[in-house]
């Protein structure tokens, strides 16, 4: 899928890339991006609302974590969801991916409500996510982790696997190849055979993104992907997120780091205490007094 498999040199593709000329390398990466690209039929046009959060309220006992929050994510954009700690960002995420059921309100994907669909079916309908605290399958290799993601689209079950039916081989081949391309795409192919728990932190973060992309999502939700990164790594991550978007994915990004959010998102939604306090372009959000107050606090004499 990525490059013709005739001659396999010592060290595999990772070494091969090092030896490539600039031009060959560019062509190879283009092929990888093509293999990774979103090619599912998405029912909405570019720019139309892909996912709509409609008046969603989530209550835990007496605590209202989300208070009738509404916003839409348009196809092909990178939407930032920001807010101070405890503002309800992750709760909002969890309500969208089926971990929590909204107390009231609805989440609509392509105009159809998610309703009470099981979590794995929500993934199949096209929402994939990463986790704030990395949750990889530690005993699996990086490649196996990603293939689990591709399995979301596969149908082989016990009988097919037991008897090695043709569909098993077909899915296995397609899934493994797509997973290999994804590892190259996020830049961790050199450690494909390592157990996920033995990977360095930055690699684990990237592996989570690759695994989520493997489910062929219409919407990719990244929950603080830059947590614990140094500025150089954040820069690389921004690069990756942009690359994902230009490959045809829609991205929802939860992030604390304002520089990263401002640098990569198209629009931003700001939450505070479970309520949406602002929505708009990064430049508008930067100037918005309510947002500044939420992040920096309001001086006492100002309020007086």
């Amino acid at each position: 899928m990525t490059t013709p498999p005739e001659k396999v040199p010592e060290g595999g593709i990772v070494v091969e890339i090092e030896q490539m000329s600039e031009e060959e390398r560019a062509r190879h990466f283009a092929e990888v991006a093509e293999a990774v690209a979103a090619d599912r039929d998405v029912a909405v046009e570019v720019g139309e609302t892909l996912l709509e959060v409609h008046e969603v309220t989530v209550r835990f006992g007496g605590l209202t974590a989300l208070d009738s929050v509404s916003f839409g994510i348009r196809r092909g954009e990178i939407l930032g969801l920001i807010g101070p700690n405890g503002a309800g960002k992750t709760t909002c995420f969890n309500a969208m991916t089926g971990v929590y059921r909204p107390t009231s309100g609805r989440v609509l994907l392509e105009g159809r409500p998610l309703g009470r669909a099981a979590k794995h079916n929500i993934t199949r309908r096209g929402i994939a996510r990463t986790f704030q605290n990395i949750r990889l399958f530690g005993e699996m290799t990086a490649l196996e982790n990603v293939v689990v993601g591709t399995d979301a689209r596969h149908k082989t079950s016990v009988l097919g696997a037991l008897l090695r039916l043709p569909r098993h081989y077909g899915e296995e081949k397609a899934g493994t190849e797509r997973a290999m391309a994804l590892l190259e795409f996020v830049g961790i192919a050199d450690r494909a055979a390592d157990k996920a728990k033995n990977l360095p932190y930055g690699y684990q973060r990237r592996l989570e993104i690759a695994r989520a992309l493997a489910t062929e999502p219409k919407l990719l939700c990244l929950d603080e992907p830059a947590a614990g990164f140094n500025p150089a790594e954040k820069e690389q991550l921004m690069e990756l997120i942009r690359k994902i978007r230009s490959d045809g994915y829609t991205v929802l990004l939860i992030e604390h780091d304002m520089r990263l959010v401002m640098g990569v998102t198209d629009r931003i939604v700001v939450l505070e205490f479970g309520k949406k306090i602002a929505e708009g372009l990064p430049a508008e959000i930067r100037e918005n007094p309510a947002v500044i107050a939420a992040y920096l606090g309001v001086p006492d004499d100002d309020a007086a």
Binding site: G12, H120, M140, L143, V147, K173, G187, D190, A193
Partner: protein
């Protein structure tokens, strides 16, 4: 960006790495003499290994093989899918009673040839596994363990209470495979371990092929994903309930098969063979050898079965010894003698070869404690 850290210093385990990098046909070729040796163990009766004069050596080997089969089944449930099952002996019992009821002269039921009861025992125990799993697999961890413990006890008590199951009186002359020697005595006699051993070992090899097929497929990946992080697996599109149920059903079927084999081999079956202690012993075999490692659990089963047969003066203290051994093992090697090890891709070799130029996973060793994993919620 894919270039950094390609040459990473590797840890020990040279032997394992050498083995993993051998081409597939060479691995198979190396396995042939080992399998032949295993087949001829009871005939060779090697001097140091022998359990005589305490225990008939072929019989001891049958017991070990039977326990190995149980361990393979339990390993699917505990080792692969990570579902702690403390009532596995219940499935074993169901399989044993299916064989006994359909072949023993003490039973009222219609008689079937013994070999026909083996697949039947698997089907019945599979159904039992599904029946138990449907309501209980929504539970996790300790809660599931308690419920399965209850299931094992229910089966044992039913065997005592239901009159047709004959309680402690049991069933005499449970069937065996056909065939007689020249003098007219049956080949598969209770006191003749070797043919039974060959039958069980052959079935184990077939089971290993099937279980291996499942492992290197979407099913095996789903199981290990569930074991590693059930919530994350669900959110990555794994239908966790369905695959947990399958793990239960397949584990149960293998347990049932071993039960039917043990019933046939001993020729006698009553309610005394199914106490909780057996479930614990099975689990000890799995944990000892290395939960999640097919070879490991068979080694564990061999040790658990062989030690009491070899050192009979210890056999009444075997639980004490195993207990101590397990405690020491859990301190120094919590992953078992051979750590969890699975290949989850049918085309993994080619893929790794293509990407990094090495055929297999680099490290097979589990890090010491599972609590050392990063990124788990506290």
């Amino acid at each position: 960006m894919t270039t950094s850290q390609a040459a990473r210093p590797r840890r020990a385990g040279r032997l394992g790495e050498w083995w993993n990098n051998l081409p597939r046909p060479q691995q198979w070729a190396a396995l042939v003499p080992i399998v032949v040796l295993i087949y001829f163990l009871p005939v060779l009766n090697p001097p140091l290994l022998t359990t005589e004069p305490y225990t008939n050596f072929p019989i001891a080997m049958v017991h070990a093989a039977e326990l190995a089969m149980v361990a393979i089944g339990l390993n699917v449930v505990v080792g692969q899918a990570g579902l702690l099952d403390l009532g596995y002996v219940g499935f074993f019992a169901v399989g044993a009673y299916v064989a006994a009821l359909l072949t023993s002269k003490d039973s009222m039921l219609h008689k079937l040839p013994y070999l026909a009861t083996l697949p039947l025992a698997m089907v019945v125990t599979m159904l039992a596994g599904v029946l138990l799993g449907l309501p209980t697999l929504r539970l996790r961890g300790d809660y599931l363990a308690i419920v399965t413990l209850g299931f094992g006890e229910i089966v044992r008590l039913l065997a005592t209470i239901v009159p047709d199951l004959k309680g402690q009186v049991g069933f005499q002359a449970v069937g065996h495979p056909p065939g007689t020697k020249a003098d007219g005595s049956p080949i598969f006699a209770a006191n003749n371990g070797t043919p039974w051993y060959w039958l069980v070992v052959t079935l184990i090899i077939i089971l290993l092929l099937f279980v291996g097929n499942l492992e290197r497929s979407r099913v095996g990946r789903a199981w290990v994903a569930i074991r590693e992080d059930e919530d994350a697996a669900e959110l990555m599109g794994v239908p966790t309930f369905k695959f947990k149920l399958w793990a239960f059903a397949i584990g149960a079927a293998i347990g049932g098969l071993s039960g039917a084999l043990v019933a046939g081999q001993t020729g006698f079956m009553n309610n005394q063979n199914f106490s909780v202690a057996f479930s614990v012993l099975y689990l000890a075999a799995v944990i000892l050898g290395g939960s999640g490692n097919k070879v490991g659990v068979m080694v564990g089963a061999f040790i658990v079965s062989y030690i009491p047969d070899r050192f009979t003066n210890l056999s009444d203290r075997k639980y004490l010894i195993f207990g101590l051994f397990l405690v020491v093992l859990m301190i120094f090697r919590p992953q078992g003698l051979l750590g969890a090890r699975q290949r989850l891709l049918s085309r993994g070799r080619q893929a790794y070869q293509r990407l990094i130029g090495r055929g297999e996973q680099i490290s097979s060793e589990s890090s010491v404690a599972p609590s050392g994993e990063e990124g788990r919620p506290a």
